[in-house]
Every structure is written in structure tokens, then in C-alpha cells.
């Protein structure tokens, strides 16, 4: 399972949203008095906010111990035995997974799909949010469901379901050949494959892990192993012509559908492209690589030596390294900047192009670039309060809860979504601020 990507907070999936139609008037608007909610409900879970900041919601329980959703202070009419995985899609629709009498489905803006399943999980959104997929199980058969339509073919095992960016396709790791309990030799013959839209590739593997679609959704790539020792990359079911002792998640170039993947050779890691060495440099570790939008640059999290972590851009590592970790790497829309989060001795920092911003925090969230790539905003936490940093400066005000910010399409404003106040008067505000008004 791609644990770093599949479950991205949907707030981060706003790259292709229609944010131009949102309210970008410079203003601070009260959306909900959260203290009232807490008074009203004996049970309330954490809050989620839509990308445009207009909607705030939480799972709540009624007096009869049924679950529902409170949105902007109003509780859905429908109640359920269980509600979980509240998620706003990129198009600001609110989804959650719900069950009644042991039957599960997804509710979108309060309306459940008609179809019911024995279990569903792993909600996925297309880039524009119009398409929604889930992993599902009924009578111990597994399949994906895209916009309410099930795969025709079902499997005894399915993992790692992903959706193409355009929302047209789903793919997952599936078991194609049954294996008896503890039948290790059958297992090693290769009993797993990749199913795209339910149809398996005509090749089996010992194992398959991360799957990625090409930008146009026409191709899929997966990291596989063909024996318990030989790992490689399979593109549309065709294997690279060499194997490795280990590989990490492969990716398509956004422009020409070539495939790159970190691979292990000897005791070091390097980046391979279409089965051949691509970067000259070797690293103690290399993973989670990303392409710039124009496909001209690749950045990856690397360990130039054991125990030190940084970012390498086009194979060249930054000189600034961190001892604990580097995570949440993001490339600016124009491909010229790279930002990430680094941690050293339990203190978290924002790093842009190899330089750390001055302060360290108890936690730092994934940096957000403005569409013109000129600004960066980051949510941080210190001593139990949350703050918003813009271009390295801390904006005025501390928040009890803060959601990831969004820049306006013209990159002149920022949408701040946060909860402030004391326990008796906790309010959720949606605020649009002109960047030029932020004190320098």
C-alpha cells in the first residue's frame, strides 16, 4: 500500500480544483461556532474542512447512539450504525463511509449510494474530484467500485487499489491463483498480478506492491518481485530486463511515459529509467521520487550516507542534511523549487531549496506552493497551538485547529481556515488575506 500517497489529506489534492470559482474576497467570515456543537453532542470526532473553506463537518453521535454527520451546524437527516473516513473531495463534496445493519456504502453529501457491500474502505478521488472509487468486499470477494460501478471480475484478495488522475481507471494488486495454507512453494510460483479496471495482466508475480498510472491513465506501472529474491518494475505487464535485490515505487514521466524507479544495487540505491541507470549518483537510500510538472526535473528523498537525509534534485543532493528524517517533499508548479520537511533531534523544520527556515517546530505539515511558485505556506505546530507560515514568516494569530491553506489562482491571496477562541467560544473562520497585507 502506498501509505504516503493514497491517503493524502484531500485538502492537498486541490491542484486541479476549480478554485477560481471560490469566494476570494478579502474577508474574515465566521462559518461555525464549534463550542455550540460540543454542547449539542455528547460525542463529536475531529473536524474536517472543505478545500474552499465553506464547509466544516464532523462525525457525531445522537442520543440514541446512532452516528451521523454535523455539517456547518446542521446534522444530516440520515443516521447510521457507523460513520467513518470523513473526506472532502477536491470539488468540495463531503464523503464518508457508512454502515447500517452490517451493510456498508459511501455517502456523498449525505446521500448513500444505493449499492451496499459487506465492507468498503480506501476512498479515492480523481484529481478534479468528480470521480470517486472505493475498495470493496462482498461475500469474501474483493473488487473496486468506481462511481458506484463494480468491477465485473472479483478476487479472493485485493490490495493497493489506486485510481488514475483523470478518474477513468482503477487498478489494484489481486490474487489470481489460490494458495493453500502455508503452501510456500505454490506461493513462490507467483500467484499475484495487477488488475486494471478489474482485468488482470496476463502475467503473475510472487508479489506486487505500489501501482501508478501514467498521467493520461492509459498505462500502469508496478513494483513487483518475480522470485522471492528478484525485484523489478512491470509496465503494463511487461518486465524491465533486469532484476534487483529491492526496488521502490516507480513513476511515469508526465510527458513521455518513460518510467523511473529507485533500485538497489549492491549496498546502495540509485535511480533507474526504463531499466537502465539514470542518475549517476549512488545513495545509502533513495525513495519517494517526484517529477516536476514539465517532466524536466526529478527530486527524491535520499540519504547520502547512513543516518543523514536530504533531497536530491536531478541526482544532486542538497548539502543540508537531517539526522531524523526528511518527508513531505513537494515540487513547485514551475518545477524550479523544491520544499520539504526535515527533522533533527525531534525538531521539525521547513526546508526550501536546501535552506531551512529559521524556526523549528513540534510538527510541520506539507508545504503548499502558490500557483505562480513564488510563495510557500506551511502549517506548523508549537506547544499545542497551530500557526501559519508564509514565505518563512509567521502570520499573526494562533489556532486551536488549522487546516492546510490554499493560494488563490492569481497567487495574490491566501485562504486561511482555522479555529480560534477559548473553550467557551471556539469559532471556525474562513479568512482570505492578501499576501501583500501580511506584515513583512
Amino acid at each position: 500500500m502506498d501509505t504516503t500517497e493514497l491517503k493524502l489529506n484531500t485538502e492537498e489534492k486541490t491542484g486541479m480544483n476549480d478554485s477560481g470559482s471560490w469566494d476570494w474576497k478579502v474577508d474574515k467570515r465566521l462559518v461555525a461556532n464549534i463550542s455550540h456543537w460540543k454542547e449539542q453532542f455528547g460525542y463529536m470526532e475531529e473536524l474536517y474542512v472543505s478545500p474552499n473553506g465553506e464547509r466544516i463537518a464532523a462525525v457525531v453521535k445522537s442520543d440514541d447512539m446512532k452516528f451521523s454527520v454535523c455539517e456547518n451546524g446542521k446534522v444530516w437527516d440520515k443516521t447510521f450504525d457507523k460513520v467513518w473516513y470523513l473526506q472532502f473531495g477536491p470539488d468540495n463534496r463531503l464523503t464518508c463511509l457508512v454502515s447500517d445493519m452490517g451493510a456498508w456504502t459511501i455517502a456523498i453529501d449525505g446521500e448513500p449510494w444505493e449499492k451496499r457491500f459487506d465492507f468498503i474502505w480506501n476512498t479515492q478521488f480523481s484529481e478534479n474530484g468528480k470521480d470517486i472509487a472505493v475498495s470493496a468486499q462482498t461475500e469474501m470477494e474483493y473488487f473496486a467500485v468506481l462511481n458506484g460501478i463494480e468491477w465485473e471480475k472479483k478476487y479472493s484478495v485485493m490490495t493497493n487499489m489506486v485510481m488514475s488522475q483523470d478518474g477513468a481507471h482503477t487498478a489494484a494488486v489481486v490474487q489470481t491463483i489460490p494458495v493453500g495454507a502455508a503452501d510456500i512453494f505454490k506461493f513462490r510460483e507467483g500467484c499475484f498480478s495487477v488488475a486494471v479496471d478489474g482485468n488482470p495482466w496476463d502475467i503473475n508475480f510472487v508479489n506486487v506492491w505500489e501501482i501508478n498510472f501514467s498521467k493520461d491513465g492509459a498505462h500502469a506501472v508496478a513494483e513487483v518481485r518475480t522470485t522471492i529474491y528478484d525485484y523489478t518494475v512491470a509496465v503494463d505487464g511487461r518486465l524491465w530486463n533486469q532484476t534487483f535485490p529491492a526496488v521502490w515505487k516507480p513513476r511515469f514521466s508526465p510527458v513521455n511515459n518513460s518510467v523511473t524507479a529507485p533500485v538497489r544495487k549492491g549496498d546502495s540505491w540509485m535511480l533507474f529509467k526504463d531499466g537502465r541507470q539514470f542518475w549517476d549518483q549512488h545513495f545509502s537510500q533513495l525513495w519517494d521520487h517526484l517529477y516536476s510538472n514539465d517532466g524536466n526535473h526529478i527530486a527524491a528523498i535520499v540519504a547520502p550516507k547512513f543516518g543523514r537525509w536530504t533531497i536530491a534534485v536531478d541526482g544532486r543532493p542538497w548539502s543540508l542534511t537531517f539526522g531524523d528524517l526528511v518527508t513531505d517533499m513537494v515540487i513547485s508548479p514551475d518545477g524550479k523549487k523544491v520544499a520539504c520537511v526535515g527533522k533533527e533531534k525531534d525538531f521539525w523544520s521547513v526546508v526550501v531549496d536546501g535552506r531551512a527556515w529559521s524556526e523549528a517546530y513540534d510538527m510541520v505539515w506539507k508545504p503548499v506552493f502558490s500557483p505562480d511558485s513564488q510563495h510557500i505556506a506551511v502549517k506548523v505546530e508549537k506547544r499545542g497551538y497551530f500557526y501559519l507560515l508564509v514565505d518563512g514568516k509567521t502570520m499573526e494569530g494562533e489556532f486551536k485547529v488549522l487546516f492546510n491553506p490554499v493560494f488563490s489562482p492569481d497567487s495574490q491571496k491566501i485562504l486561511v481556515k482555522g479555529i480560534t477562541g477559548n473553550p467557551d467560544e471556539e469559532n471556525y473562520y474562513r479568512q482570505v488575506i492578501r499576501l501583500s497585507d501580511i506584515p513583512g
Binding site: 500500500m1 453521535k61 512453494f185 549492491g266 510538527m363
Partner: protein, 449 residues
């Protein structure tokens, strides 16, 4: 000692993974694999250990197998090394398939990698490292006991130890939440709560066989007011039999998924349940194979967590556990982490009568289940319990002084001790520390009364 240990035992145990794995091995392949492992994956550490050992035999009395087999030198740590890696080195890898089968059985089922012997070696030679090299060679040759190999295949396919499917995991959390909410209204197991302080991680057997432990943990977390979460994705299981079969590449994959999950959830630290080997994997071996000197997100074991909650007054003692208890120190969190005093602090707080077993703390005898030995399954069960007669004697001595209950904060220890208690007819019950805390702590409905 050393001379007689050189002659290898002939096993009567038939294991499909070993037999069929070795069936088609050629001497050429064996030599190549051994050469590759020794040349590419070992270095100064192996050379130092091999050249430093003076064959003094002081490690022998540290080993429960040796003590339990009437001091048969073939079961001494040096004896097991001499029968395996030393022979491989001496023969420059020119050994046959029969040798590999025997070396596999010794390395996988006669050494728990417990590191007790390392404390008694005048030079601190870590025999578990030497035996792990033998396991790595066996893995690369495809000669691994069937049951633990199957467990490793489960890890590879599901990222958990027990073939638990994605939906089964989440459903188990909801089931336990619902059960526990009957006891504590509005109790919650917060799934996928980003920004929680703590990611609580467990191992495969908890959703599969011991789901009450998740229930109990939820009660403790809710009572203590902890801001915690559990993931809905693979990456929830911190166990690692790949580490023990020498499948280092898969160990790395498991730990990447695990720490990626923690980073994705934006937690400040990880609290892991009562497991020993998983601690070794995430705190020592798996993280380091990936390139992290230490865990990238701080990890604490349940014992440290209970200690912290108790010290801070977040959990309180409502009553004392009445039966006499003794405490079994798990190798990986006591010799490997030094949690023995914290464990005693918590145990004594919740129990009326505490009886030390001897030896104890870092000198405690292994349960004989750890190191993947219990995971080698039924073919080796009898051998395993007979290989720890000394543990039965140690427990019996504690029982004779009033201990009716053994507290063992480790899953493998539980399995191993249950088998020993049953085999030797000790008549003692075994509990997790969390069992005792859950039973004796103040719970919300009684708090403030």
C-alpha cells in the same frame, strides 16, 4: 567442549521448507551464495568476532538450550557457531546440502537470538549476529522452515504477519470499539486521525487471535485521555519475521510502510503494544537497514507508556491484583532496551504480591519462543519446550514461593511460556501487563466516586 560440538546432530524432525528447499541445491550454488553473503554483506564485525573468540566456553552457561540439555556442548552458543558459520568459513563455503539443512535447523530452532550469551562473553561477542548470518545464507538458498517462511510471505503480501486483509483489520478495530463502548460509553478507537499525538501499533496476532488486547488498549487510552490513532492502511503491524529469516529486503519494506504511516498521520511518537521482537525490528534492525540510525519517529514500548501514564497520574490503581505474580523479562525490551525497572514499577503498583524469578532482569532466561523459533511451527514445538527446561525450573521456583501468575509483556513470550507451563505441568497463568492494568485500573465510570 569445542571438540565435541564440532560433530553435528542428526535431526529426526522433517520440515517441508527445509527438506524441499534443500532438495535441488548444488554445491556450486551453495558456494556462490555463501561467497556472495560473506563478501558483500559482512565485514569487520564478522572478522572481529571470528578472530576474537578464544573458545573459552564462558557463553555456554548463558544458554537455556545448553542448560536444558544437560550441558550438551552442541547446544552451547560457541558450539552452535562452531557447527555452522565457523564450519562454513573453514570450508570456504564448500559445504553440501545436508550441511545446510542441519545448519538451518540449528540456526532457526536452537538459538533464539536472545543475546544473553553476549553478556557473558569476555569480549561481548554477539552470537545472535553470527547465527543471523547463517539464517541469511539459508534464506538466500531457499532453505527456511516452512511455517516461518509462510509468515514472511504473509508480511510480503499483506504487510502484516497473519494474512490479515485490509478490511478485516479495520473491521476488527470497529468491532473492538463497539465492544468496549458497551463498557465505556462513547469510547472511541480513532482510526486515521491525522495530527494525533500517538500512533498505537500492534502486531498481527492481535486482530487475528487476541483482539481483546486492542479493546484493553482502547480503554487505557480513553481513560488516560490520550490523543491517539490507529491507521486504516497496511503499516499498522510492527512485527517482523522477515528480520528473523534473513529476508532483509522485506524487513526494510515493512519498516518503510510502518514509518511512512506514522509520518502520514503526523503523529509525534509511536506507542507499540506488548511485543518484544517488533521492538527490535523498528528500533534496531529494520530502521537501520533503511538508513535511519534511530527510529525517525520516536517509538516507545507499552511498558514505557504505562510507566509514563502511571507516573503522570493519567491512570490510577483502583484495586490490587490479588494473586502472587512474577515477571518475565523479555529479551528484546530488557536486554535490548532496559525496561526492567519500569516494568517492575508498574507491576508492583497494580499487584499485591510480587515474587522475583531468578535470574531476572537482563539475566532472565529466554522463553525459547523468540527469535522466530516459535514461528517455525508445530514440527519444532516439542524440541522448543524441551530446549527450555531451565525456564520451567525457574518458573517452578517462583511458583513455590507464591507466584501463580506470570506477567510477560511480549506476544512470543506468551506463546512460549504457555507451551512450557503446559508441557511441564506448572499450572501457572500468563498475562500481559495490559491485562493486569485493565483489570485493576480506575475506569471512567468509577472515577470520581
Amino acid at each position: 567442549m569445542a571438540e565435541s560440538a564440532e560433530k553435528m546432530k542428526t535431526s529426526k524432525i522433517i520440515d517441508k521448507g527445509i527438506e524441499e528447499g534443500a532438495a535441488n541445491l548444488s554445491s556450486k550454488k551453495i558456494e556462490k551464495v555463501i561467497h556472495d553473503v560473506l563478501q558483500n554483506e559482512t565485514g569487520a564485525r564478522l572478522k572481529t568476532y571470528v578472530e576474537t573468540c578464544i573458545h573459552c566456553g564462558l557463553c555456554s552457561d548463558a544458554c537455556h538450550f545448553y542448560l536444558s540439555h544437560d550441558k550438551d556442548p552442541r547446544y552451547s552458543p560457541a558450539g552452535k557457531v562452531k557447527q555452522t558459520i565457523w564450519k562454513i568459513l573453514k570450508a570456504k563455503g564448500k559445504v553440501d546440502a545436508d550441511f545446510i539443512k542441519k545448519a538451518c535447523e540449528i540456526a532457526f530452532t536452537e538459538c533464539n537470538l536472545c543475546r544473553r550469551c553476549a553478556m557473558y562473553c569476555p569480549f561481548g561477542i554477539d552470537v545472535s549476529y553470527l547465527i543471523s548470518i547463517v539464517r541469511r545464507i539459508c534464506f538466500k538458498l531457499g532453505v527456511v522452515p516452512q511455517y516461518i517462511a509462510d509468515t514472511a510471505h504473509s508480511h510480503a503480501s499483506t504487510l502484516n504477519q497473519m494474512w490479515v486483509k485490509d478490511d478485516e483489520w479495520i473491521d476488527t478495530l470497529f468491532w473492538q470499539e463497539e465492544e468496549a463502548a458497551d463498557e465505556i460509553p462513547n469510547l472511541r478507537i480513532p482510526v486515521e486521525k491525522q495530527g494525533a499525538d500517538i500512533f498505537y501499533s500492534v502486531i498481527g496476532p492481535e486482530p487475528k487471535f487476541r483482539s481483546q488486547l486492542i479493546y484493553q488498549a482502547a480503554v487505557i487510552m480513553n481513560t488516560a485521555g490520550v490523543n491517539w490513532t490507529m491507521p486504516a492502511t497496511p503499516g499498522w503491524d510492527n512485527s517482523d519475521m522477515c528480520m528473523y529469516i534473513g529476508e532483509n529486503e522485506m524487513m526494510g519494506r515493512l519498516k518503510k510502510a510502518y514509518f511512512d504511516t506514522a509520518m502520514r498521520l503526523k503523529v509525534k511518537r509511536i506507542v507499540m503494544g506488548e511485543c518484544g521482537h517488533a521492538f527490535r525490528s523498528i528500533y534496531d534492525q529494520g530502521n537501520r537497514w533503511l538508513g535511519w540510525k534511530m527510529p525517525p519517529i520516536p517509538v516507545i514500548h507499552a511498558i514505557e507508556f504505562y510507566y509514563e501514564l502511571l507516573k503522570e497520574g493519567k491512570i490510577r490503581v483502583a484495586k490490587k491484583y490479588e494473586k502472587g505474580v512474577t515477571f518475565h523479562d523479555p529479551c528484546n525490551i530488557v536486554r535490548g532496551r532496559g525496561l526492567h525497572e519500569m516494568a517492575r514499577y508498574v507491576t508492583k503498583a497494580f499487584t499485591r504480591e510480587f515474587i522475583e524469578m531468578h535470574p531476572n532482569r537482563e539475566h532472565n532466561y529466554c522463553c525459547c519462543a523468540g527469535g522466530g523459533v516459535i514461528n517455525c511451527g508445530p514440527p519444532f514445538k516439542k524440541k522448543r519446550v524441551e530446549g527450555d527446561r531451565i525456564k520451567a525450573e525457574q518458573l517452578f521456583a517462583a511458583k513455590s514461593r507464591g507466584a501463580e501468575t506470570i506477567i510477560a509483556p511480549c506476544h512470543n513470550c506468551h506463546g512460549g511460556l504457555e507451551d512450557i507451563v503446559h508441557h511441564y505441568g506448572l499450572g501457572m497463568e500468563i498475562k500481559f501487563l495490559g491485562d493486569i492494568i485493565y483489570e485493576c485500573m480506575e475506569k471512567p465510570e468509577s472515577m470520581g466516586e
